[in-house]
């Protein structure tokens, strides 16, 4: 069964690149959303196997989006991986403590991103 991932990022170019990487290199299905609230809506309508979440977004940012996902029974169990240009160790640890599955750095290598996601999500090859 093909996995479905939801990509939430306010930057259209980043969304496009992540989508292409996950589709063409990972072989997965990708949904995307251009902001936190849109992402939460998308996840509620059709829960994906995992969420790839940007951190710095206007309005509902990554951590706020994660909390919304956690607070809803329909989405609480979906693993979330943050993909961020913020590299501060303290932030990273705080997000992991909140229950985020992993924090991956931007810029990322599009040829390696699917393998990195597979590893942190514990998905077999």
């Amino acid at each position: 069964m093909t996995r479905r991932l939801l990509v939430v990022d306010d930057e259209p170019d980043v969304r496009a690149v992540v989508r292409l990487s996950l589709e063409h290199v990972g072989g997965w299905q990708v949904l995307d959303a251009d902001g936190g609230l849109a992402g939460v809506d998308a996840a509620r309508c059709s829960p994906p196997d995992a969420v790839v979440l940007d951190v710095m977004m206007p309005g509902t940012d990554g951590p706020a989006t994660f909390r919304l996902l956690q607070s809803d029974a329909r989405t609480a169990d979906i693993p979330v991986v943050m993909l961020t240009a913020r590299v501060d160790r303290a932030d990273r640890e705080a997000w992991l403590a909140m229950g985020v599955r992993a924090v991956l750095a931007k810029p990322f290598d599009p040829m390696l991103l699917p393998a990195q996601l597979r590893e942190v999500l514990g998905w077999p090859e």
Binding site: E11, V14, V17, H24, A85, R86, V87, P110, M111
Partner: protein
């Protein structure tokens, strides 16, 4: 008149000087010493009258550094904003509760740069004293000096505050810029990475070459952004080291593995000889610093050259050396290579491929560990980069 004493604007001006309670400062002592000599009194004092006390910033005769406002002559000087001459406190019924030993007082107000009276410059004697007009004129003259010193301290403090504000702005700027740079870099690297790998379609040979060049340079830009951020945070002391026990050999091996591709392409052999030493370090950062030293040594080498890495425990600490047999650096330029964006030979930056921050970063990491990074070199014979890390750290690791 006491209204002026507790005027909020005046009290703020005193607080803003940020001088009350400071240890003795020579610059104020010079004024009070001169005053004591000129007036020929045992006590020359420079005071600030704060909201609740008279703080003695400098005195030639010792005594308390804090006087009660209620009983001090200086309070009257500040409240009246005028000079006060008291020839004999015993003959003046205003001073029945006055401080015991002092019989004569001559004081003038001191103003800060905005004109608020903040304190006094005064002479005191233990005997009655008929103050002359010359005494008063000398006091006024010396008060200008004292005011200049107060203003100088104020200017210095404002500059320090200004520098702090600038440092804060710089941090913010770097954090914003790094995010703003990383976002387009993410799209750029992502798009070029997928293109070069031809996962979305085959490229003609020249297109593949162009994609490769573009990707390499996007990678280089991304590295540069990372290194600028790292360097800023390290030099600003914002980095908390995550020290753990590590075998020195493991760290060196990791660093060598990181430059293996670069060394192979350059036709350079990296040889390791590292003793069995346990260290107490931030492994990731030290490995990264070593990687910079090695990359630098490989870049300085010619095909067929050998780079030696040696590590051992010495009486002074853990010693690590990275030796290349490249073209060397003029001793006059040695310190310069640890600066940002400098290279031993600035003529061929293109061939080097480094970001120009590697050695500066490595030095910051080593110094954050309390260690030192130095270089010795001979033109034509090569360069040795030497890291010395405190041994105490290693001993603690064993105890822990």
């Amino acid at each position: 008149v006491t209204g002026l004493l507790d005027d909020p604007v005046r009290l703020r001006a005193v607080d803003d000087l940020d001088l009350a309670g400071r240890p003795d400062e020579d610059r104020f002592d010079r004024v009070t010493r001169s005053l004591a000599r000129v007036l020929d009194v045992p006590f020359g004092l420079l005071t600030l009258v704060t909201g609740d006390a008279v703080a003695v910033l400098s005195t030639t005769g010792g005594g308390p550094r804090r006087l009660e406002r209620r009983t001090a002559f200086c309070t009257v000087v500040v409240a009246s904003q005028d000079a006060l001459l008291v020839p004999d406190t015993a003959a003046d019924d205003r001073w029945t509760h006055g401080p015991g030993d002092w019989r004569a007082y001559a004081g003038v107000p001191l103003r800060e740069p905005c004109g608020q009276v903040v304190g006094t410059l005064c002479g005191l004697d233990v005997r009655p004293r008929a103050w002359s007009a010359t005494d008063l004129a000398a006091l006024h003259d010396l008060s200008r000096w004292a005011e200049a010193e107060l203003a100088r301290g104020d200017a210095e403090r404002r500059r320090t505050l200004g520098e702090l504000a600038v440092a804060r702005m710089k941090d913010e700027l770097i954090s914003v810029v790094s995010h703003e740079l990383r976002t387009p870099l993410t799209s750029l690297k992502g798009a070029l990475g997928l293109m070069s790998a031809e996962v979305v379609g085959a490229l003609p040979a020249p297109g593949r070459e162009l994609a490769r060049i573009a990707l390499e340079n996007a990678d280089r830009l991304a590295r540069l952004v990372d290194e600028i951020c790292d360097l800023e945070r390290l030099t600003a002391g914002q980095v908390v080291l995550e020290r753990r026990p590590h075998l020195l050999g493991d760290l060196v091996r990791d660093a060598v593995a990181c430059v293996a591709d670069q060394a192979r392409q350059a036709g350079v052999e990296v040889r390791c000889s590292v003793g069995d030493v346990t260290t107490w370090l931030d492994g990731a950062r030290v490995t990264h610093a070593l990687e910079h030293l090695l990359a630098n040594a490989v870049r300085a080498s010619c095909p067929g050259d050998v780079v030696d890495v040696r590590g051992r425990s010495t009486a002074d600490g853990v010693l690590l050396e990275v030796e290349d047999r490249g073209c060397g650096i003029d001793p006059a330029d040695l310190e310069r290579v640890f600066g940002s964006f400098t290279r031993g030979d600035s003529s061929d930056t293109r061939a080097h491929g480094g970001t120009g921050l590697g050695l500066a970063l490595a030095r910051s990491v080593v110094e954050a560990h309390g260690g030192r990074l130095t270089a010795t070199s001979a033109v034509g014979r090569g360069t040795t980069l030497t890291v010395l890390l405190p041994q105490r750290a290693a001993t603690r690791a064993v105890v822990a």
